[in-house]
Symmetry: C2
Subunit: 397 residues, 2 copies
C-alpha cells in the first residue's frame, strides 16, 4: 500500500466542515486579534454587506430608553471595509479583562464567524476574548494543575425530580485520600448550572488561585437555582426550546427549602468534609438572595456566606414560603452562631446598591459582623468574577 | 420592606443580556420551529439585510469544484422577507435526525441569532436542531436516568504532558459498588476530546440505550487523539487561538504508543473492570485508524474493536513509528487471540469506501473474523452517530 498524502488526510475530517473552512473565505480572517498594546482588531470578510458594526462590553455603554426606564446598553461602533471585502475595526488599548462582543451585520446581531469562542448568557450567545494581565490572568487557562469539571444528576426528594449540577473538584482529588471543603456557588436569575462555569470562569479562577497558594483546594458545587427546572436549556427532555428569561425563575422559596438535598448528595457522593466550618455558600444577584435565605434557614450548615450584588429584597408579591417568614428572627439566630465570614460585595452603580446599603445598616444596627467589598460599575459578570476571586481565598482558613 | 415586582426581577439578570433580549428585536423570533409535519421553519428579523439564505445538511448537497477535485458542499436556499422585516423559509418535511445549519446574511455565514443551540465542528460553529422520531430519539435528552460527564486531566508519562479527556460514567455509577466495562471512543482528524460528546451525542445515545436495556452500563472515555495537543482549543494555556485543521493532527504513532497511559489512568481512578473482555475501542476516520493500530499494537488489551469510516491506510509519507511496523504480522497476532468483535462500518459514498473494501478483502483472505455494517452516504457525523448506536449494544455481552 502506498503511503497517503496530506490531500487524503484533508479529507478525513467531515467534508462539510472542511468545505466550510477552506472554501467559504472566512477561514483566512483572524478575529479577534489582540495586539501588543492590548488594542483589539475585529475583522470579518463580508464583501456584500452594507454596514457592519461591533458591539460589546469593551466599548463605553450608551443610554437607551426602555419601558423600564433609562438603561445602559453596550456601545457599538462601525467597521471599515477594505478593497478585499474585509471589514476591520481596532479598539483603543483595553484593560485586562474577559470581554463579550458581537458583530451587527446589516442590522443583525451575530457572533463572530471567525471565532469559535462563545459564551451563552441566558438566551443569547456572544463571542468572547481575554485581554491578558493582572486579574484577567485568573480567567485564563494557565499551565497549572487543572481540576475536573463534571455535569452530574442528583435526585431531589424535596422537589421530586432529578436535577443537573456542575461540580468542580480540585487538582489531585482523584488520586488522593484527602477530604475537601465545599463552596456552593449560585447563579442569578435567568441562569442555570452552566452560568458560573462558563461566564464565571470558575474552573480557571479556582485552578489559578489554588496553584498560587491563595485558595485552599475545595470542591465547588454549581447548582441550578430554578426549582422547577431540571437542567439548563437543551439538557433535559424539554429539548432545544427557546429559553425565556423569567419562565424558570420562580423565587418562591422552593429552591431554598430543597437545598439540603444538594448538600446531602454532595456529602454522600464526594470525598468532602461535613462540618459547618467546611461549607461555604455564595451567589450573584438571585443567587445572593438564595444564599442569604438558605444560610439563615439552615443556620448550622454554612460558616461562610457571600452575597454578590445580592437581591436582599423580600420575596415577590404574592409569594409565600416558610423560608421567607421571620426574617429578622432567623437572621438573629444565624448571627448568634457567629459565622466565620459574612461577606457582602456590590458595585456602586448596581441597581441593588441602595438595597445593600439598607441591609448593611440593619446588620450594623444589630451588631452583626460582616465584611464589605465595594467595586465600581454595576450588575455585570465582570464584577462577579472579581467577587469570586476575592471570596474564595478567604474560605476554610 | 415592600415586596418587589417582576420589573425589579427583570433587572436581576445582567443588564446587557436583558438589553440584548428585550430591546433588539431578535427576542421575538422563534427559530428554528419544527412543525407538526416535520418541516422546519427558519426565521430571522433583519429588515436591513439584502439577502438571506439558509445552508445546512437538511438540504440536498451541491457539487463544488475545489483544488482537491469535485466535492459535496451543503446546499443553500433563500429566505423570503415579509413586511415586518422577518425573513422565513420552511423546509420540506425532514427525516428524523440531528441537523446543522447556518444563515448566510448578505454573504456572511453565521449561526442563527435566535437559537442558543450550537455545536463546534473543528474550527466552525453551526446551529443545530433535532427532528424527533426513530433513531433520532436516541440523540435527544429523554426522561431517563442520566450519566455524568466529566472533563478530567490525566498525566501521560509517555508524552510527558498533562492532557484533557471527557469521561461518561453511566447512571448509578456514583452510588453503587459495581465495576463497569470501558469503551474508548476516538475522534477524527481536526477533532478533540469535545467532538464525540458534542456532535456525537455520546451521553444521550448511551443514556437512552442503557435505559432501553439495549446497552450494558459502561464508562465511555473520549480522549484527545492529537498527541501534541494538551486539550481542545481554549482549554489549555495556548488560550483562545484560532484552530487550524491539520496543525494538531500528526498521525505519527505517538498517540497510539501512549495509549496505555490513558488506560492506566482510567483503571486507576475509575471503578472499572480490568480484563480484555471489558475493554472496547472504536473511533471515526482518524480515530478508526488509531483504533486499528492501538488494538493490534496491544493485542491483549481490547476484545472489542470498532472501525467507523476508518482510514485503513498506512501512515503518511515520511512518518515512521514502531506502531506502524509489521502491520500484517501484528494483525495476525491480534486475530490469533480471537477478539470477541471486530466491527467495520462505512458509508457507500465515503471516500474511504474502497480503502475499507481492500482491508476487508485482506481480512477475508486470512480468515480473520469481523462484522461489517454498511450505510448510505459518506464521511459525516450522521453516520458516526448511527455507528455508535449500533456498536454499543454489541459490547460486553
Amino acid at each position: 500500500m502506498k503511503k497517503f498524502s496530506i490531500l487524503s488526510l484533508a479529507l478525513m475530517c467531515s467534508a462539510s466542515s472542511f468545505a466550510q473552512q477552506a472554501l467559504w473565505g472566512a477561514g483566512d480572517v483572524v478575529s479577534p486579534k489582540i495586539n501588543s498594546d492590548n488594542s483589539v482588531t475585529f475583522s470579518i470578510f463580508a464583501p456584500e454587506a452594507q454596514k457592519i458594526e461591533v458591539t460589546g462590553d469593551f466599548l463605553p455603554t450608551k443610554k437607551v430608553q426602555t419601558p423600564m426606564g433609562e438603561m445602559d446598553a453596550p456601545g457599538a461602533t462601525a467597521l471599515a471595509k477594505n478593497d478585499k471585502g474585509v471589514w476591520e475595526y481596532t479598539s483603543t488599548p483595553l484593560a485586562p479583562e474577559l470581554y463579550s462582543y458581537s458583530f451587527v451585520i446589516d442590522g443583525v446581531k451575530v457572533t463572530d464567524p471567525s471565532s469559535i469562542y462563545q459564551i451563552r448568557d441566558v438566551a443569547s450567545v456572544t463571542s468572547v476574548f481575554i485581554v491578558e494581565g493582572e486579574r484577567a490572568n485568573l480567567y485564563k487557562v494557565n499551565d497549572v494543575p487543572h481540576g475536573s469539571v463534571a455535569r452530574v444528576w442528583y435526585s431531589s426528594p424535596t422537589l421530586k425530580i432529578d436535577r443537573r449540577m456542575t461540580i468542580y473538584t480540585p487538582p489531585g482529588y482523584e488520586k488522593g485520600e484527602a477530604k475537601y471543603p465545599v463552596l456552593y456557588l449560585l447563579h442569578g436569575a435567568g441562569g442555570d448550572e452552566e452560568a458560573w462555569i462558563a461566564l464565571g470562569r470558575t474552573s480557571q479562577i479556582l485552578d489559578n488561585l489554588i496553584a498560587q497558594g491563595k485558595a485552599k483546594p475545595m470542591v465547588v458545587v454549581m447548582t441550578n437555582g430554578n426549582a422547577g427546572q431540571k437542567a439548563a436549556p437543551g439538557e433535559s427532555e424539554r429539548g432545544m426550546y427557546k429559553p425565556s428569561l423569567w419562565e424558570e425563575t420562580k423565587m418562591n422559596g422552593d429552591f431554598e427549602a430543597a437545598f439540603p438535598d444538594v448538600v446531602s448528595y454532595v456529602e454522600t457522593n464526594y470525598r468532602v468534609e461535613q462540618e459547618k466550618q467546611s461549607r461555604a455558600i455564595c451567589g450573584l444577584s438571585m443567587g445572593g438572595f438564595h444564599s442569604l435565605h438558605i444560610s439563615k434557614q439552615y443556620p448550622d450548615l454554612f460558616d461562610y456566606v457571600g452575597l454578590f450584588s445580592a437581591a436582599i429584597m423580600p420575596p415577590q408579591q404574592g409569594v409565600s414560603s416558610k423560608v421567607y417568614d421571620d426574617f429578622d428572627e432567623k437572621l438573629k439566630v444565624q448571627f448568634s452562631k457567629k459565622p466565620k465570614l459574612y461577606w457582602i460585595a456590590i458595585g456602586t452603580a448596581d441597581f441593588l446598591f441602595q438595597n445593600n446599603v439598607d441591609f448593611r445598616k440593619k446588620l450594623d444596627e444589630n451588631g452583626y459582623k460582616y465584611e464589605y467589598y465595594e467595586t465600581g460599575e454595576g450588575h455585570i459578570w465582570k464584577n462577579w468574577r472579581i467577587y469570586l476571586a476575592e471570596f474564595a481565598p478567604k474560605l476554610f482558613k
